[in-house]
Amino acid sequence: MNASVIPSHTPSRPGAGPRSDGFRCGGRESKFLLLTFALAILSMTARLPGQDKAVTQSFDGPRSLSLFREKVAPLLQKYCAECHGETKQKQDLRLDHLNPNMAEGTDGELWHDVLDQLNSGAMPPKAKPQPTKSEREVLFDWLTAELNRAAAQRNSTGGRVVLRRMTQYEYQNTMTDLLGIDFDFAKGLSPDERSRNGFRNNGSTMKFTSEHLRHYIDTARRALQIAIVTDEPERPVLHSNKTPNNTVLRLNRSTKPNERVWVPFAKGILRVKVKVRPFNDEVQLLGVAAGREGDRINDLKLIDEVEFRGTKRAPTADWPKGEVALDHWYSLGPFSGSLDEDFGPEKKPLALQGKFPAGGKEIAWERRPDVVEGYAHRFSPGDKHCTYFSRNIKSQDARPLPISLGCRDGVKVWINGNEVLSSSKGHDQKAKFAVNLNKGDNQLLVKIHNLGRDGLMYFKCDAVDPPPDFESQEFTLDVEMATCPKQETKGSDEPAGGRRHLYIGAWDANDIPFQSMLNLSSNSSAEDLPDPKGFIIESLEAAGPIVDPWPPKSHSQIFIPSPNSGNEKVYAREILAQFMRRAWRRPIAKAELDEMAAQYETNRADLEFVAAIRETLVAVLSSPNFIFLIEPTADTKSVALTDHELATRLSYFLWSTMPDETLSRLADSGKLRDPAVLRRTVSDMLSHGRAKNFVKHFTLQWLKLDLLEKTSVDPKVFHGYESRLTRDMVQETLCFFEEVLRKDMSVLTLIDADFTFLTRRLAKHYGIPFPKEATRTLGQYVRVSLRDEPHRGGLLTHGSVLLAGSDGKYSHPVRRGAWVLDRLLARPPPEPPPNVPALDAASPNSEKLTLKQKLALHLSSSACASCHEKFDPFGVTFEHYDAVGIWHETRKLVGSTVETVDAIAQLQDGTTLDGVPGLKKYLLSEKRDVFVEGFVRYLLSYALGRSLEYSDRPTVEQLTRQFGKDAYKISALIQALATSDLFQRK
């Protein structure tokens, strides 16, 4: 049949004339088929946006039927009809009887099978004529598009926002804002799954299970127990791990640098005062972390940190005083050789000058303020290497001086050139021995012969220290106890609320946290004592709980001041009314309040007043009115949102949390819908700090980077890669997006830009010079110009995106290519077919193939090729960047072969792309409109919390046009989106 008599985009009349030719079938069947086709067309074309909400479409819409008629049906006739047509129906399949409208028809799954057969190369049979490559493509594209449309339609929300619960992070933010306490509300809640379009706030994908309800009830109860206080404030007490009920924990450098503190209270703040003495002027971090006893370093939760750098101390004249005084240590080494070999300094032990040959270069004595008395100094000279340590000791008279010296390797000690100790098996620090000092200057020389990788030296004696080079500094870190993980209870002597277990510790200049925090026992040997890297902790005090004001705000915003606070019944109603108004994000009907008050009365029957209120609030916070973003309507026609619903939509779109007081009041006033007010509100919301939530969640979900920090980078390949680098990469992308948003740059800047945001660490990783004037370094993201960096600029060169397109070891061109197609061009590749034949990669030499040869293999299988040829080439353009985003000119293959990276790719349509610059150019020129429209679609999808459908097309087109007129400013797009009917109506 040929349905060309039926205009494809106007409603057809029943009985519109059939004409038989081409893909035809005779008699009764053809009439049946015609009717099916006609009905299909009728139903497709009748569905103009807004006309019929009951029938909806995928975003791509009903263009496919005319395509079927003109292109697909003739091909099926040509290649399939012989066995699956009028005369023969092998496998009982007659293709011309299948309804090509998969969305409304019932043959979707059969068509799916046709696609699989075609894909796997099983059909047409090898002996029969085969479709050409372009014909195959026509069939494949139509089948995929139509199947996608059908799938989307099954999941259609009728072009409406579907009732959805808060996402995990929205719940966390909302509870934090509502209760005003810092608490891990979402802990234990399983994460929201990614929907087909990539977002986690999609109402249709999000499920609600009993696990959720259980969590909401338990969490509300636990959190309210912290937010609401029933007792008097505890008097702050100083706490110590050694004497739990005693006054102060003081650590001086004769004990340990890092200390655990048991804190026997759960509410309020623990104020930690730490005095540190740095050895250098580098930026360093000091922090407090919490964890359970026995937790590993990475399990600890960082509560607070402070950044500091040492300031030089003025030289003092009052040293040396006392009988014996020490100068700083000096070190020299390493030298490759045995313990008995003299590398030079032993000949002239009293001089710390001169150069010594070692490993082909000249080395000299080095002053070492970081080798501190009473600490085990760790160093890594390498196996079977010798290192010298020397220091001057000034004595007022000749006398013996007992010293402790600990080391686990070969050691020799001289005083003034006389050997006093020699051992090939190390020395126990507890075996003190004396050295004889002369009056005046004495030279102590220690030589350590390393066996194994790491060396260790511990020294202590009873003498006056050298004056510190840098000033001591004191810091105060506040720890909100509620945020700390609770120690599991073991005994019955647990204080109410449980214990918290804190670790005070430091990061060294390389920013490795807490490496030396654990393993502290009271009988520390030299090996147990960590090496202070950049500073030592001189003293530490922890005092708490400090609660200010009392009762805390979290309490008084529930138990509001009221003249009726003496009258329980009235007061309870007031409390409930005001809390429900905030929690449910809308005015509360009297009936609702009455019912909740009744719930309170039930609770009050066997509970104290405060507890009864608390239990009632648990019900408020477990109610669907809180958990779900509700926009009630029984109306089948779309109606305008109420002001409060609009405020809620805006708030969860731009802040990922509940509306604040200002926004709520605006909704109360009924002015929010006023275009000028709305415009100003959106603009205010975007400049508010909470808009960071939008930046974070939209960007990470759009670019599929939200699980990046879980990617494990192979340490065997990337030595010294720290997981904090991954965090920096994610932050780079977020800061970058935020800058484009806040500075009103074009959205195209995301594709190519001449700036980015780096930390010193990340700059070093990329090999980009870090601006000198940027003094604060470790945690700080600094805008860096990329004018002189040909390999950086735009999202495509961000470490985050590149790492996501890797397996933590190798770059993954297929993943990177699919990402470009999916995220930047908004064309998600379809699901792989059920039965994918294997690639012929079993040949033993496949490891030696170049990337392009491997991909060619991918494309040689017709089942893979139909999809993979659409995105594999994009992936090739990234090949200069390795798994962690470093740019390379060449690459090592298996064995020792080195190849020059070939990042030139040819697209399906013949376009040649030369590396990422070529890809960027291609995206910005040929694909600019596709990228821009894709961005609009993704933003709209995120804002509405649903997948887009055909009926949304006009809005997308209109927004895209307006976006262009607004020079592609994202803020302008958000404004336009917020005023669109789709966003304003339900």
């Binding site: 009732l163 477990s622 294997a838």
Partner: protein, 453 residues
Amino acid sequence: MKTKPWQINRRTMLRGVGVTMALPFLESMCWGRPSSSPAPTRFCGLQFPYGCGTPVSKDPKDKHYEILQKENWGFGATGSRKDFQFSKVLEPLEPFKSEVTPLLGLEHASNIANRTTLHGASDAFFTGTGIGALNLQNSISVDQLLANHLGVTRYTSYVFGIDGGIGVAGASKTLSYDLRGAPIPAQSDPRQIFDQLFRADKQKAVLDGLVRDKSVLDKVLAESKSLANRLGKQDQRKLDEYLESVRHLEQRIERRKLWFDRPMPQVDASKLDLGAEDPLGYLKVMFDLIVLLMQTDMVRYGTFQLGSQGNNGDLGRHEMWPHKLGILPDKNDWHGFGHNPNLFISKWVRVLVEQYAYFLKRMSEIQEPNGSLLDNTAIVFGSANYVGHTCGNNPIVLAGGKNMKFKHGQFLDYSQSKDKPPLANLYLTILQQCGLPTRSFADSTGVMGDLLA
């Protein structure tokens, strides 16, 4: 429309849930002491994702066939039904040769007929529903059917999985589905499982807590009902999920109340490594927990998903494991791993089989009045995929249940037979032998006599 016999019994079943509950088995027999009362029947369903090569192929020229055959790394055995040798994948089961039956060639015909996606097949492994690319609605799973009818213990079922939660349809993170076909969230944290299931309800505060919870649930239920009237159809369906979870929690609370006064078995947790994070330690402690739960007769039916399929770029936890264990040498690339003919996936599955063997060992060591715990438990270990991560021809090893008349020490290969029994027949057999008088399950055509003594 097929008739599902258990649906006829729905009313009876609902009456059975939580309300009419028999005394726990343990109470009459006192743990470990010999008694004349028969031991209960139990079921455990284990499933691993991505499949494993079976040494059987429709096309003998298939590359997979060759490589697996040559190296004997297929999932299954060689030899005859009675006299067979395990392949390398199943070798760890050697000590249990007389306690297990490798089964090849079973599949859910409905999966094949509905072009279930290769990932979606996992969702349906224990339900037998044809989940198509367009239709993701599932139906009740074997364990839940048993739990609903025969669940007389403290907990009706356990639903474990190494990723936890439910995931999304087509890439589920649970194997268990309720009567409506809604997924039941899997628990994944050993410590949490232990705390929740073995914590004694001794304090009055716990009972008070249950009363409070019930009160909250009553309130929110009333609220949702009035809310439902103001919602459109679409939204009402979403709210139904909420209502269903309210009912589910209510049932749990009722059950806990009923069991409140009964003594909780004292369990020594010191030997359990509840914090284990390395793959093998983790699997071990999860199996230990299952043994403990069944041994103390706290629960009889359940599932444990040994890994989920990736969803839209999100990888499950186990997908890092082969690399961590050094089985996957070069890449952490499941796509290549799954679709290419190589031995890695077989080697990985062998690691899982080793854990399965550990589980069988533990089960066989626990003595019950009429034999071992293993003799009273039917255990299905298998995957919804076979070679190259495709649907059908499911690799399965059935174990245990000798007291339920299961006959082992045989190798049943239906892959070449003309009328292969549907996988649902295996489940029907298990259901009946567990004591559920149902005549069919999913697309079953009858019981598998081959399995029974």
